[in-house]
Symmetry: C2
Subunit: 143 residues, 2 copies
DNA sequence: AATTAACTTAGAGTTAACTCTACAAAGGTA
DNA sequence: TACCTTTGTAGAGTTAACTCTAAGTTAATT
């Protein structure tokens, strides 16, 4: 199967401008053109785009993605570099997930405070009540 | 305790430029100034900065953070908005974590391919071997 | 007291990643 | 064939979030 730039844009949820921009930045050296100059995307190209999306959405800048694609074009001599790149990306993503978890805890705590405050209709009253309750728990044991 | 802009910058791992920029964008309306015009950060201010960092690192744009701070300044009338904002952020972070996991799977798969290719010294040979192996497994059962 | 380091404001410059405009050419539809 | 949509190129403009410069002031150190 083959696809026009517009079809691919729709599939990926981006504009045709973005795809042409990616090409200009050297991210799509594999995409062929028809006799009259129209870009023709194949299913293999869609596979590449999926990888690009993966790297982009895990925070790799377009330059980094281009580096990967350049390495690919150079063949087996760059296998190690490409492996190292994926290993580094793996670590980055794992760290990112850990950071997100940590922040999620903070957000959940804030949510509990705000739920209390909304119930009371007052931030100060809710915080006061919370403080008194904590005091009680400290003196008589929890629950 | 109180801190200079330079001390705070160091603690947060940003530059003083960045902190002044945040102030200009309305993110630090709580920071006081000394008689001679120097910014004086308190421990409470550091608490605010920690919240700002949390929202920023979970992908909220500075404008969104400013909105939250503005709501805070308006008092109890905006408790619900602030709660809703944290609930939305919670969902965003959870979705982000799920997406990262999905991409991590793809990256791990790529790593396994590249580890094989590096061992063989050739991408094509490794893929060929992998294909044959899969064929065998299909015929005689796994492991 | 002199020097050096950190601070001040105002404003210009940078970077990444789009995003849009203009206008010509190609392709699909009635 | 006429028309309308899509695509093409080249290049300008936008946005967010810094990042830096200049020129002067304040604070800390020797």
């Amino acid at each position: 199967m083959s696809y026009s730039i517009g079809q691919v844009a729709k599939m990926m949820g981006v504009t045709t401008h973005t795809l042409r921009y990616y090409e200009k930045e050297g991210l799509l050296p594999f995409v062929r053109k028809s006799g009259s100059g129209l870009r023709v995307f194949t299913d293999t190209d869609l596979g590449w785009l999926a990888m690009i999306e993966c790297l982009k959405e895990t925070g790799m800048p377009l330059k980094g993605i281009k580096q990967y694609i350049d390495w690919y074009q150079e063949g087996d001599a760059t296998l190690q570099q490409r492996l190292d790149m994926f290993l580094a990306q793996k670590q980055k993503v794992e760290e990112q997930i850990a950071l997100y978890r940590k922040h999620l805890d903070k957000i959940n705590y804030k949510i509990s405070l705000y739920e209390e405050a909304v119930r009371q209709g007052s931030w100060d009253k809710a915080m006061e009540a919370r403080k008194l309750n904590e005091e009680k728990e400290r003196r008589f044991g929890k629950k």
